[in-house]
Symmetry: C2
Subunit: 333 residues, 2 copies
DNA sequence: TGTGTTAATGTGTTCGAACACATTAAATAA
DNA sequence: TTATTTAATGTGTTCGAACACATTAACACA
C-alpha cells in the first residue's frame, strides 16, 4: 500500500532505523489510515518462546486454606500450557520459615521468567525479593501485601478494608453497647491489618458504641485450644460477638460446642467445608470470601496473557471482598 | 517420528480417512506417547476466519441499569478484535416489544455466527429463538433466564435464589413479627422469581414469622410515583422493611424523603450511583449486585475463546450473587 | 574508471497447523 | 500387455509477523 517492501514496513514498525524520511512517512501514513494493529496470534507463533512461571505457595496439605489456590493455579496452567506457558509449583511449609527460603531458592535457581508468590513471612519475603532482583526475575505477589521498596505487582484483597467490611456486617446485626472480641488463631502478620480495619470502622461510628478486645490463640493441638477458649470465655462472660481473622472460625465454633449453649455472633473468613457447615447451621453469621482460587487463577492468567499477547499488567488488583451467607455460598465454591 | 509424512499425520488428526491401518497405528502411538496437543495459535492463524457476534440488549440511554452491560461488551470487544472477533451491538427500547423484534431482525439479517441477547420479553424472545434456529444461528442468553424447549446457553444469576439471599439478609437485621413489603417498580416477568425466592425463604423459617405483602408501582413519572408511595404507606403504616426487586430502590428511598422520617430497612439491587449514595447514607441497608458488566463481558469472552481456541462453552453459568454494603461497594464498580 | 563503503531497501525463511494438490503403488478393466 | 481407477501417501502453499540475509544505489577515494 505504501509502495515499499515488507522489510521497510518492518523497520518502521520496530523502529529498527535505516529508513529514509520519505519511506518512513509513506508507511506511517498508511499505518495510521488503516489503523494497523498487529495480529497477536501471528506474532506469538513466530516468537514461539516458552515462558516459565514459578509459583511459591504454602503446601495445601498443611493448611486447607491453600487448596483452592492450588486449584486456581492448575486451572490456569492447563489453560495456557497449549500456548507454551509452563507453570511450576513450589510448596513450602507455612509454619516453617526456612522451608520458605529453601523452596524459594529452588524456584529461583531454574531462572523462570517470573516468580509468583504468597509472601506470608514478611522478612524472608524481602530476602527473596532481593534475590529475584539480582537475578533479574520479576515478581508478582498474591494473597497478602507486604511493604516493598519499589512498586510491586499485587493481586489480592485489601485486608484492612476486609476488616471494615466485617465490622459493618457486625454493626448491622448486633444491638448496642455490646462486647466484641477479635480472635487471632495462629497469628500471621497480615491478620493485624484486619483487626485495624475492624476497629477503625467502629471508631468512626458515633452511636451504639461497643467495647472491643482482641485475643490471640496459638495452640496447635485441638484439646488445648478448646481449653484456652473455655478459659477466655470464663473470664469474659459477656462477649456476644466474635470476629475471627482467618479461615479458622470453625475451630472457635467447635470449641463453643463443648461449652453450654448461648447465642453468639460469629464472623469469619473463607469457604472451608466446616465453615460452610456452621454457616448453614447458623452458628456462623457471615463469612468473608478471600477468593484464594480466583487470586491464584488471575495471577497466572494475567501473566500468561501478558507474555503471549502483550496485555498490560495491572500494578495492583484489589479483588472484591465478597460477603457470604448460607444462601449465596454455593455459587462461590 | 512415525516415519510418515505430515499429510498422513494430518489425515489421522482430522479423521479424513484414506489412511492404512498400519500408518494409523504408528501415528496414533506417537501422538499418545508425546501427548500431542495442537497449538491453538497456529491453528487459528491458518483458519484466519473472522467471527461475528451480534448482541441484542436494551438501550443504556433508556435505563441506566444497562450501562455496565454495555461497557462489558465493549471491553471484551476491544480485547478480541485483534484476534478477528467482530462484535456488533443492537439496542432496543426496554419499554417497547416491537423495537425488540425490529432490532432482532436487523441482528439476524446479517447472519452472525452467534446472537447474544438479554431476553427481557418472554414471548417475543421465543419468536427470536425460533428465527435463529431456522437461520442456523446459535443463541446465548444473558441477564435473565427464560424457559426454552431445548437446552440454551445462559450466563447470569439464579434470580429466585437472589430473592432468597435478600430474605436471608433481611432476616438477620430485622426483629420478629414485622411487616415486610416486596416492591416491584415497572414490573418485568423475571422480577416475580425474586419475589418467589424471597417468600420461600421465610416460609421455610419456623421462628420469627413476618407478614409479607407485595406491591407493584408502574408510574413512569416521578411525582405520581412519589404520590403512589405516599398513599401506599398511609394505608400500610406498620411496614418496617422493603425489598425492591430491581435497580430502582433509590426511587423508593427518594419517595421516603418526601415523607416524615422513620427508620426503614431497604434491600435492593444493583450499583447505580443513586443506590450507592443511599447505601453510604444508611438509607439502603444492602444491595445485591447482579453484575451486568461481568455477565456481558463473560458472555462475549466465552464465545470468543470458544471460536478462537476451541474452549468449550458452559451450558449454564450461574454467577455468584454478591452482597454489597457501604464498605465493600467500591471494589465492585 | 574501478573499488570499497554505507545507507536504504528488498527477498526468503520460519513458526505450526490446514488444506489443496501431486505422486506412488497396487488393483482392476480393456 | 497396457490403460484406468483408486487407495495411500507425500509435497507445497498459506496465514501474519519476525528476522536473517541479499541486493541496490549513491558516494568517496585511489
Amino acid at each position: 500500500m505504501a509502495g515499499v517492501s515488507k522489510g521497510t514496513v518492518d523497520r518502521v514498525l520496530h523502529k529498527r532505523g535505516k529508513v529514509s524520511k520519505e519511506s518512513f512517512e509513506k508507511v506511517d501514513k498508511v499505518l495510521k489510515e488503516i489503523d494497523y494493529k498487529p495480529n497477536p496470534i501471528a506474532r506469538n507463533l513466530k516468537i514461539n518462546k516458552t515462558y516459565n512461571i514459578h509459583v511459591l505457595l504454602p503446601d495445601p496439605r498443611q493448611d486447607p486454606y491453600w487448596v483452592p489456590a492450588h486449584e486456581g493455579i492448575n486451572e490456569a496452567s492447563n489453560q495456557f500450557t497449549p500456548f507454551g506457558v509452563q507453570v511450576r509449583k513450589f510448596f513450602y511449609d507455612p509454619n516453617n520459615k526456612s522451608s520458605f527460603l529453601n523452596q524459594s531458592e529452588q524456584a529461583i535457581l531454574l531462572q523462570p521468567d517470573v516468580l509468583l508468590m504468597a509472601p506470608i513471612f514478611e522478612n524472608e519475603s524481602h530476602t527473596v525479593l532481593r534475590k529475584c532482583c539480582e537475578n533479574k526475575i520479576s515478581v508478582v505477589l498474591f494473597n497478602n501485601h507486604i511493604n516493598t521498596f519499589k512498586e510491586q505487582i499485587f493481586i489480592g484483597q485489601d485486608l484492612k478494608q476486609s476488616g471494615r467490611v466485617a465490622a459493618s456486617l457486625m454493626d448491622k446485626i448486633i444491638g448496642e453497647n455490646k462486647e466484641i472480641a477479635i480472635i487471632h488463631i495462629n497469628k500471621e502478620p497480615h491478620m493485624q491489618l484486619k483487626e485495624n480495619g475492624f476497629k477503625e470502622f467502629f471508631m468512626e461510628k458515633t452511636n451504639g458504641i461497643h467495647s472491643i478486645i482482641s485475643k490471640d490463640f496459638n495452640s496447635v493441638e485441638k484439646n488445648s485450644f478448646n481449653q484456652d477458649v473455655g478459659l477466655f470465655l470464663e473470664s469474659n462472660p459477656n462477649i456476644s460477638a466474635f470476629f475471627v481473622t482467618n479461615s479458622k472460625a470453625y475451630m472457635l465454633v467447635e470449641a463453643f460446642e463443648k461449652i453450654t449453649y448461648r447465642e453468639r455472633i460469629v464472623i469469619g473468613y473463607d469457604l472451608l467445608k466446616p465453615n460452610i457447615k456452621y454457616l448453614q447451621d447458623g452458628a456462623i453469621n457471615f463469612l468473608i470470601h478471600q477468593k484464594p482460587k480466583r487470586q491464584a487463577y488471575l495471577s497466572v492468567s494475567y501473566l500468561a496473557e501478558h507474555f503471549l499477547f502483550g496485555k498490560d499488567l495491572p500494578a495492583q488488583e484489589f479483588l472484591p471482598i465478597d460477603i457470604i451467607t448460607s444462601e449465596n455460598a454455593k455459587y462461590y465454591t
